[in-house]
């Protein structure tokens, strides 16, 4: 099965039912299906062919959902990009995947234009809510793309082994890698997750997570699959406004990351009884502190809380059945349905209970590899227990208890999780070194009560240079996505180095811990 069939089949069963609520716009499954058909037709007319990559650079708006399904219906591969991405990174992604088209919105058009100038492969840019501009080749208003009346010529634009999406994720080298997901991979992941969440067409999910982030993206895909109404919000900056929406729309499912949970628990006047429809809450990206688990359960008494763990390379690895939460609050549970998750020691053995090793994942949800990056693919996908297949080495250290439940211990590399998203310290350091006056820089994660982990840069300036903390933060904000920008900057004369003279992130981190 292909992913766009999620929508076409739901449109057959629930034609008039509300599929999407985004701001004041409400779309039924039938409307969403028709609009994405038209968008697909427009893409095809503009030359997008089977297998072509189309970058989706939009915030959480209805146009993004239309674009995702439109690209798939045209046989293309969609590539979601965080709307706070800056010019260089967007250009890197466009060039890395040799994108054919870029779908964006007026607010992001200046960034998109700069990036497109250095991306020769991009022959089409589609702009939502665009202001009036003279017609030009390779430029299309999103609204005009939806005017196309003619039906799609090919009802099936490909097979399920085709790529459905490329999701870029931070790599320890500092350059993002495109995780290749076939339709089959996505369908396997969405089927497994909706199975353990026991989703039905009666559910109403509220999603504020960016749909450029796989946790947010899958809310869109799973809602289409099951016939769920999705309430899409742009931000959690005003939690009260989002919670009011939850109440009005009678939301049954709320996906969270720990930062959002911390913000909810910080609210003084919130009453759980305002949300009688809430059936479940999910958390992933980083572990919730046990105290927050207890308080969330107390607040939302009718809702089940799912602690989960995953990575972009297979979407989701594990979940803790809610019945186990009181007994083992620190566990992220067991493999999701239809998959396997186990711990392997450094010498390649299966670890026993309590023994620490790397988590390995086996299942149809595991990615096909990193886009045009055989070295990184070979490190992540390695021979498994059977000669005919590869399994995913997650790079995360785990242990199990005596009943086989899994516990996250830490990362094997230096990747930081901030606001639930992966940040490569190397990527931030590369940007810092681009700022004149920075002689040495190292980036680490420091604990933060709301963000979980926040980014700190430690910088040594070149002689005679005067830069303030603000100068550095401003420069980073101009070159990095919001969640990657350091919140704190510390200046030192010299950064600690290893015996070989390399700046040591570990030594910097240890010194900070010792100081606290």
């Amino acid at each position: 099965m292909r992913v766009e069939r999620f929508l076409t089949e739901s449109a057959l069963c629930h034609r008039e039912k509300t599929a999407l609520v985004a701001g004041v716009r409400r779309l039924s499954f039938g409307e969403l299906d028709t609009l994405s058909d038209r968008f697909a037709r427009a893409l095809a007319r503009e030359g997008v062919q089977r297998g072509d990559r189309v970058v989706i650079f939009l915030d959480n708006c209805w146009e993004a959902v239309v674009a995702i399904f439109g690209v798939l219906k045209a046989g293309g591969v969609f590539v979601p990009i965080n709307p706070s991405t800056k010019e260089e990174k967007l250009a890197f992604v466009l060039n890395n995947c040799r994108a054919k088209a870029l779908v964006t919105q007026e607010r992001l058009f200046p960034v998109a234009t700069v990036a497109r100038e250095v991306a020769a492969s991009v022959s089409l840019i589609v702009v939502a809510r665009a202001k009036e501009r003279p017609p030009q080749p390779g430029y299309l208003r999103f609204e005009d793309a939806l005017e196309t009346e003619s039906p799609l010529s090919a009802p099936d634009p490909g097979i399920d082994l085709d790529l459905a999406m490329l999701v870029y994720t931070s790599g320890s080298t500092g350059f993002p890698k495109g995780v290749m997901m076939t339709h089959r991979n996505v369908v396997a992941a969405a089927t497994s997750v909706t199975t353990y969440l026991e989703n039905t067409a009666d559910d109403i999910i509220l999603n504020v997570l960016p749909i450029s982030f796989d946790y947010g993206l899958y809310q869109v895909l799973m809602a289409a699959k099951v016939g769920i109404t999705l309430v899409l919000e742009k931000s959690f900056a005003f939690p009260q406004a989002v919670l009011d929406k939850m109440k009005v729309e009678r939301v049954t499912g709320l996906p969270l990351v720990p930062t959002m949970a911390a913000m909810i628990l910080q609210m003084k006047d919130i009453k759980g009884s305002d949300f009688p429809h809430l059936r479940y809450i999910t958390n992933t990206a980083a572990a919730l502190p046990p105290a927050h688990i207890a308080r969330l359960q107390e607040l939302f008494q009718g809702a089940k809380l799912f602690s989960m763990y995953g990575l972009t390379e297979c979407k989701r690895c594990t979940y803790l059945p809610p019945a186990e939460l009181t007994k083992r609050p620190a566990s992220v549970g067991i493999a999701i349905p239809g998959t396997e998750a186990y711990v392997v020691t450094e010498d390649g053995r299966r670890a026993g209970p309590g023994e620490i090793g790397e988590l390995v994942i086996r299942g149809a949800h595991v990615m096909t590899g990193y886009w045009e990056n055989p070295e990184a693919t070979e490190r992540a996908l390695r021979p498994g227990p059977f000669p005919w297949e590869k399994v995913l080495y997650t790079g995360d250290l785990f242990r199990t208890d005596k009943d086989g439940f899994l516990y996250f211990i830490g990362r094997k590399d230096d990747i930081i999780k901030s606001r639930g998203e992966k940040v490569s310290p190397k990527e931030v350091e590369n940007v810092l070194y681009g700022l004149a006056g920075v002689r040495e820089a190292v980036v680490i994660g420091v604990p933060d009560p709301i963000l979980g982990t926040t980014i700190k840069a430690i910088v040594a300036l070149a002689p005679e240079w005067r830069l303030s903390e603000r100068d550095i933060i401003r420069y980073c904000a101009n070159h990095l996505e919001d969640f990657m920008v350091p919140k704190f900057v510390e200046f030192r004369d010299e950064l600690p180095k290893t015996e070989s003279g390399k700046i040591s992130r570990r030594l910097v981190g240890n010194a900070l811990e010792a100081a606290e």
Binding site: F236, A241, T259, L451, R470, I473, N478
Partner: protein, 88 residues
Amino acid sequence: MKDIEQKIRQFIAENFMFREDRSALSDTESLLEAGLIDSTGVLELVGFIETEFHIAVADADIVPENLDSVRTIVAYVKGKLAAARAAA
């Protein structure tokens, strides 16, 4: 009363605008849409209002209608101060 607007503008300029290389901000521009504030930004803004103007900001007040542009923030703060004076 000009004072309130100046203080608020100064706070926004010093804490949010420098990141985006912005020098001007209209009275009605949405801080959220402009990408000037995010979740932590709103918390910082609320903290600033509470300490600077000695106002208790209720959860229900932390909504875009009150806090998403210079004009709405100024109106909100003035309203709260007037209510406090009336109660005193």
